[in-house]
Symmetry: C2
């Protein structure tokens, strides 16, 4: 493998990691007065990374490597393939188009924040019209087989297309809605309001730290800080992976499940092969696969009865007043309560995917040209009512709630539900492969599961595309079966239906 190409790829990776540090610092410790200088530093580093990627020299080195790479050398094959992919995506887009998208979306994000605050979709719609037009241009430049949306989704989930995601999502919706109706009929179930009591922050920090350590987050190769929006960021390869949490003293789940979620992302990043740091071999397979790791630890492990069988005693001892009259059962019920709600990020495990399917269908239609921007609010509310049985009172509760479209991130939403489906399918396989998985979780022993994920998923980096990885790990293509089996069993138990 050509040393010069690898060194060039690593330099690009190093620049992106420096960008990540600039971003992390801004979200955590940077004083307010640093914001203007930070924007300049960030723009410079991003520009240098872009220039290095699309340069003549990268192209020449790539072409030479493509002619000589040994088919058995999967490291070289992965690095060349993924660098080609990045190069093509970057080189196909004229600098002017990239600049216009960056400029427009930065203004559109502001417009979105104001539009949402006042619930006035009309204030955002000219920006959306512009962004959809720009992203269609991107799709045409990048190229696609069936429809332009595919070119956009491919950025986040390589190999995914609307035509193969759509039937999966339809089937999932068909299984979800009747189950949701059964829950609604069976109400009242557990009371989630017990999580809104007073939970002092310093005690939340204790349980979050303990859970993070329990599932295997390596504090030697990472750290946890506080930020407004929780995130996981890799600053220096698998040896330096940082998460953030936010603590709401009247809403315990934010910190608990936020920490488990970000730890799930971090365990993936810490498990990537260190020896290939700054190359695609040490990068995650896709956003969907990434989300499968965060959702597995957050939900399949973190909202399981087995997990709380161990940890509930600690929570109870930390918050004796808030949980005075509660039990493991009522707590476990509360963290798994199901109900239709307007806001995606507050949704339970069952209804969450409906929120995503709705967005996928709408954004696909927008990019196809089948849905005019002006018609989005009506289309949203109509679909929402049909799926959830409730109607948003205003657009802030509806089509204005998410930032994604105003950032031009069309094709991103499906990765959330793909993550949920991958998570369930991986976990079902792990359950087959690991003897007594539930008992281990109940004994706070997560080493076998983490080891299994490391071996089957983490260590491969970008070697396999998501579809190929799922097939390798579970001997099946992606399907809704595992998720539907898991969620049905759980919901039936909690609601005694």
């Amino acid at each position: 493998m050509d040393v010069k190409l690898v060194e060039r790829v690593k330099d690009i990776g190093r620049l992106k990691s420096v960008s990540a540090l600039l971003d992390w610092d801004q979200e955590t410790y940077m004083p307010a007065g640093g914001v203007a200088a930070r924007a300049e530093q960030y723009a410079l580093i991003e520009t240098l990374a872009h220039q290095k990627l699309v340069s003549e020299e990268t192209r020449t080195l790539l072409e030479r490597a493509e002619g000589t790479v040994d088919a058995d050398d999967f490291v070289a094959e992965t690095i060349v393939r993924e660098t080609r992919r990045s190069y093509d995506r970057a080189a196909k887009l004229p600098a002017e188009l990239v600049r216009e998208i960056a400029h427009t979306s930065s203004l559109a994000k502001d417009a979105w924040a104001k539009a949402r605050a006042e619930s006035r979709f009309a204030d955002l719609s000219p920006w959306l019209t512009k962004l959809i037009d720009l992203k269609k241009q991107v799709a045409e430049r990048i190229g696609y087989a069936a429809e332009p949306y595919d070119a956009l989704m491919d950025e986040f989930e390589p190999g995914a297309t609307a035509a193969n995601v759509d039937p999966v999502f339809r089937e999932l919706r068909e299984k979800t809605v009747p189950l949701l109706n059964r829950v609604m009929t069976a109400r009242p179930g557990p009371d989630p309001a017990i999580l809104d009591r007073h939970y002092p922050r310093d005690r939340q920090e204790k349980i979050c730290r303990r859970m993070a350590e329990a599932i295997g987050f390596d504090f030697h190769s990472g750290r946890e800080d506080v930020s407004v929006h929780p995130f996981c960021m890799t600053i220096g390869g698998p040896g330096d992976v940082r998460i953030t949490t936010r603590y709401l003293k009247n809403f315990l789940p934010a910190a608990l499940f936020g920490t488990l979620h970000e730890c799930g992302h971090a365990l993936y990043e810490q498990g990537l092969p260190k020896e290939h740091v700054f190359t695609p071999m040490a990068e995650a397979a896709s956003l969907g696969i990434h989300e499968s790791q965060s959702r597995m630890w957050e939900n399949l492990v973190g909202r399981s009865r087995a997990f709380w069988k161990y940890h509930y005693a600690h929570v109870e001892s930390l918050f004796p007043e808030a949980l005075r009259d509660e039990s493991l059962d009522s707590f476990h019920g509360a963290i798994n309560a199901v109900r239709p709600s307007f806001i995606r990020v507050e949704a339970d495990e069952l209804t969450y995917n409906l929120h995503i399917i709705l967005r996928f269908e709408l954004e696909r239609a927008m990019i196809r040209g089948d849905l005019r921007v002006g018609d989005i609010p009506a289309a949203w509310n109509e679909k929402f009512t049909r799926m959830f049985g409730i109607t948003p009172e205003n657009d802030a509760q509806g089509c204005l709630q998410d930032i994604h479209w105003s950032m031009g991130a069309f094709g991103y939403f499906p990765t959330y539900t793909l993550g949920n489906l991958y998570a369930a399918q991986f976990f079902a396989q792990a359950r087959q492969d690991i003897h007594g998985l539930d008992d281990r979780i109940a004994a706070n022993d997560h080493a076998a599961l983490l080891g299994w994920l490391r071996e089957r998923i983490h260590r491969h980096g970008k070697r396999f595309r998501p579809g190929e990885l799922v097939q390798r790990v579970t001997a099946k293509p992606l399907s809704i079966e595992a998720f539907v089996g898991y969620i049905t069993k759980k919901v039936e138990a909690i609601y005694s239906i």
Copy 2:
């Protein structure tokens, strides 16, 4: 002024500021596992900054600007002059020589740490021999008027030469030694041991924060963290200046005067003209001028009776046990106690300069070729005994104590004493210009002094060279007069001599 040149200069400044963030993060929050990746990130950013500086394009833009710059446009004049200076210093040194110095000094720093731990100068001497040879090559490449040492010192203190520093230091030594002898004869004076009692860390943090705010450190444009070695670092121009402190629970002065010292540096950086961020107009005039700001706030303000007249009550209330039988007078005496000691960084205000003068004389002789490396320990001990009346028991207490020479930083030490002299001379002028300065300090009102420094020194950035700046601010060239007057008066009062 050529926009392209300014933008290029700023890009170099931005890259250096990104380097600073990588460094700051490593000293404060980076997890241990990040160290290998950090070294790679750092090397890349430094290389990019160097390449941008010595490039053909920078040379062409500089030459064009030099032909056209308007003599009245001091901003353009400063940027062009200082960029030329940086360009010449960088371009005159072959990449091979730069690399060899970086490599040698990185190994020599390790050798120094071990040699100091075992007090074996012989283990360091081959490295010093090599470094002296390399730095002589640097001096020959850079060029000098009188002696090679000048080329090295000029890096840290533009315009300073051994020939003009030497008589100042001699005179200072001649005034210091008799005063030290008078103190030694008058002993016992105040008891500094009261500062070694138990001072809980959380309370030290309170007083440090209060002092920092009192003297005007702007927490909107900066922050304070903890690190092993305290420092001040500018991360994003005047809007993002960060200091660190270390807290020793059995040695109060470390945090108190460390904070005031680093705040002094930070006030300078926060006072540089924001509109010229990332150019030499928003950089400090020199290391010596920088040190004048830190030493002024640490010593001339921070060890004054007036300052503690205000702050002592707070300290007393924070540490009622440690200071039970103490008073403003005994505390003020303790923080100003004078005695010969072996270690520079622990020295009092009077003897501190003797430590520097000794190092200056020895390193000048080394670079001249008048002192062989093997003879350093004997020369050190002989000079030390003559100056201080005590003899180091081993080289760890003597010529091995400082890291500077093993980093190849010859010509750096003088800036410490120049800083002390500048500080006293500036402060004497401020006392003339600001009505009732002592009363203001005693009333915890530092706005007039800070405003004076901003107006006279900070806002000029690198516009004036140190010598020119001193002349402008005080209407006199640098002299020892102000410092000797200040220290004599203070020591006589404290020791009643």
